[in-house]
């Protein structure tokens, strides 16, 4: 069984390689280590698709929540031996921090002509790959159908709301900073949530599990998880609240310490290419590329209202926001 699928895979990879060999002029090869916060399945699919084009590159990956990936990476910086070549994590704020510490390698030749200005880092040190918003998920058996963030402070949601902790998720950190900066209640919105019995712990996956299994009725969560699970039959519904949603761009970047810049650049080129962006669509994400269609289950691009977000300010406020959040919820 295993041998059969293996040979089938080699065959497919070989086929893809012969078909695409002329275009892959840089002939990247060797080992590439990816640190990512993508769910395992998506990370594996991304790597498989990349390897179909660059069969000589041997990609392995480490997956964890963005804060943990960063903790691991910082430990490795300290030991003087960063293991990762490429980072594909939740948010650009973290990337800005790495850029400031002079850890990133610019990829000047990256082709970003198709993207509107402001999507990627102007110095080409990191590149947005998708648009992941955070909104509200509810179990279809729930009585109230929330349409706005403030609905979550209502009595119907008492003890029924779960949200990911910024200590576990990069998207949750950006979400917290965005929400407190945009809602007129600011941090007192979170204090109200706490009074309403809101549980803040774990990562987005835990929120999905709790709402889908009915342990909680409402949750704050990244869009793709419930939209994807709903398509598979899970009893959940995702809402883009009326005030707008927060967003992260799942940026990708090359570490300056990479031992294989050629393969790393090829990986980024692949993610930014139309094919790479179509893969994001197939996986159920809103691709960063403006010409790629939206996956089923999403409103039109123009109908998704994004809350304003200042990356530089967020970088400065990051630690304070985490502390403030823990002091309310722990």
């Amino acid at each position: 069984m295993q041998r059969k699928s293996l040979s089938a895979f080699t065959f497919a990879a070989g086929l893809a390689a012969t078909a695409l060999a002329p275009s892959a002029a840089s002939a990247a090869e060797g080992k590439l280590v990816l640190y990512t916060s993508q769910p395992n399945t998506d990370a594996q699919q991304t790597i498989d698709a990349f390897k179909a084009k660059y069969p000589k590159v041997d990609v392995s990956f480490v997956r964890d929540g963005t804060p943990r990936i960063m903790a691991k990476l910082k430990a490795e910086f300290e030991a003087g031996a960063p293991q990762a070549d490429v980072l594909l994590i939740a948010d650009s704020v973290t990337m800005e921090g790495l850029k400031k510490d002079d850890r990133l390698l610019a990829h000047d030749k990256a082709d970003v002509a198709a993207y509107p200005a402001g999507v990627h880092d102007p110095k080409k040190m990191w590149f947005a790959t998708k648009l992941i918003t955070t909104g509200i998920v509810y179990n279809t058996k729930a009585g109230m159908k929330p349409t706005s963030w403030t609905d979550l402070t209502k009595a119907e949601a008492k003890n029924q709301l779960a949200m990911p902790s910024p200590l576990n998720s990069g998207a949750a950190l950006i979400h917290t900073i965005t929400l407190t900066g945009n809602l007129k209640e600011g941090w007192s919105f979170y204090e109200k949530l706490k009074e309403n019995g809101t549980l803040a712990a774990g990562a987005n996956g835990d929120i999905l599990r709790q709402v889908a299994t009915g342990e909680k009725l409402y949750g704050m969560i990244v869009d793709f998880m419930p939209i994807r699970e709903k398509a598979k039959g899970a009893p959940v519904e995702f809402v883009f609240p009326s005030e707008g949603v927060s967003a992260v761009s799942e940026p990708v970047a090359i570490l300056k310490s990479t031992k294989n810049p050629e393969a790393a650049k090829a990986f980024i080129d692949f993610l930014l290419s139309k094919d790479g962006q179509e893969l994001a669509l197939k996986q159920g994400y809103v691709a960063a590329h403006p010409d790629v269609a939206l996956p089923a289950g999403y409103p039109a691009r123009s109908a998704i209202k994004l809350m304003s977000f200042d990356a530089a300010k967020a970088l400065a406020d990051e630690a304070a926001a985490r502390k403030r959040f823990s002091s309310i919820f722990e």
């Binding site: 295993q2 280590v33 964890d64 910082k74 712990a201 990562a203 996956g205 009915g214 598979k232 985490r322």
Partner: protein
Amino acid sequence: MTLAIDRNGKREPAIAAPLLPRLRPPDGLGLPALVIAVALLLGGLPFFRLILAAFAPGWQFAPEAAFAEMASRSAVNATWHTLETACLSALGALVVGGIVALTLGVTDVRGKRPLAFAFVFSMMIAPQVAALAFLSLLAPNSPILSLIGLAPVPGTPNPLLGRGGIILVMALHHAPLVAITLWTGLRSIPQSLIEAAQMEGASNATITARIVIPVLRPQIVAAGLIAFVAGVGNFGIPALLGLPVNYLTLPTLIYRRLSSFGPSSLGETAALAVLVGVVAALGIIAGTLVASRQRGKVEIERPLEPYWLLGSARPFVAGGLWLLLALKLGLPLIALLSEALTPALGVALSWQTLTFDKFTEVLLRQAVTMRAFRNSLLFAGAAALILAFLAIAFAYALERRLGKLRRPVELMIELPYALPGVVLAIACILIFLKPLPLIGVSIYGTPFIILFAYLARFLPLALKAPVAAMAQIEAHHEEAAKLDGANLWQMLRFIVAPILAPAAAVSALMVFLVAFNELTVSALLWSSGTETLGVVLFSLKEAGLAGEAAAVAISASTIILVAMLILDLLGRHLPQNILPWRL
């Protein structure tokens, strides 16, 4: 590292010298020195490094920050949570494990072998798998609960999340640990004691209450303490049942700090680690005190045989035990399986929805899960093999050569086993983060750091059986070899090793089974290419892939089951009483 060994090797004989001549001529100094050096490396070094990081960061004695950290609200809460879950779950484990051990040990209930096998198997599946299984069993969408019409309404929190659930699952999970300890004790009760009482006309209940239980008391205390220490150090159960509701024990608090804030928080997490060490050490010291009171070998011609004939109650007692196993092992596993077989979270399992997608995804499509299976096999296998050899040398040295140094050496080896895995992992990061002095190579981020941690953690487990076996070997074999002119190494190789080999082999297999499912140590030590099964399981669940996590859990449990069945078959050729489930 080589430097450390040399330094220790040179220093130790000086300490050992005044004690040893009394026991042995000085030809045996090499072995004790080696054993002490290994004990210092695996047990002393990690512990010393932690204390240093907590109280004297940068070699400057500055304990204020550590004490402030220990007195912080979250640390005090977590300490309290650790103590109460460990104590209460140990009590629960004593009750459940005690009842099972006694019923299988002293009555003529039918089907002891499969019962004991299933009971021990329920402990061999990883704690986080057990937690995950119970979690799915009692979720509002539980297929099993809805089958009997007991499914809670949506919006009902899972009753297992939080304190009560942790205590319950931990008690059930550690109950077999208690039973195994008690079975060893039961074997040391002479049958003549029972026969004497029977001749006096004592009833079965009286014999059990007045003779067996009092004789077993040291083992009962020991079993309770083992369960307590296991509870203090358990990470998988509070991680899955406590973290989602912010109920933190010390190991989960440490993990959260370190994984969220990175190495900048190493100092404060080291302080918390010392705190866990103190809590666990209380358990070990109490255990050592109890154990030291029951020294002395009893020569037993005939060990205890089942004396309590159940008569017409026999099927009911067996039924009760099977029911307990169904609740403890069967239902949660079925819940887990059904989660792995449905297409999405919260979808009811039926013939229409049934799919093997999650299994094919994790077993065939994802390189990382397959690599994790391979890594866990490899790390656990390597640790088991190395420890089997080390255990033979240690068993001989501890029994025959170390004299008064035996207790301190044993205590030192026990430290990493008693420390929670997360804490040991921190110590290893601290030791190996920077390249090693002299050779300039860093083992951080390589498989060797995980292997080192496994060796340190599981050495005491590997020692148990060989030390017990060594204690029963008469010294005259060695004397005879010595008279024939064999030197120490020849004697170890040709006399001691063959006698201890079966015991060492079994210890190695126990190490393998425990290390295979291990999460707590590797959770902080893994890196690209060295992920272990436990890590993958935890990560899948956090990424919202609960079904995939369930599929990995089921597959890993199947491997354990197969390994145990093979062992059981081999067990026919092993000396008696070596596999814990073969009564």
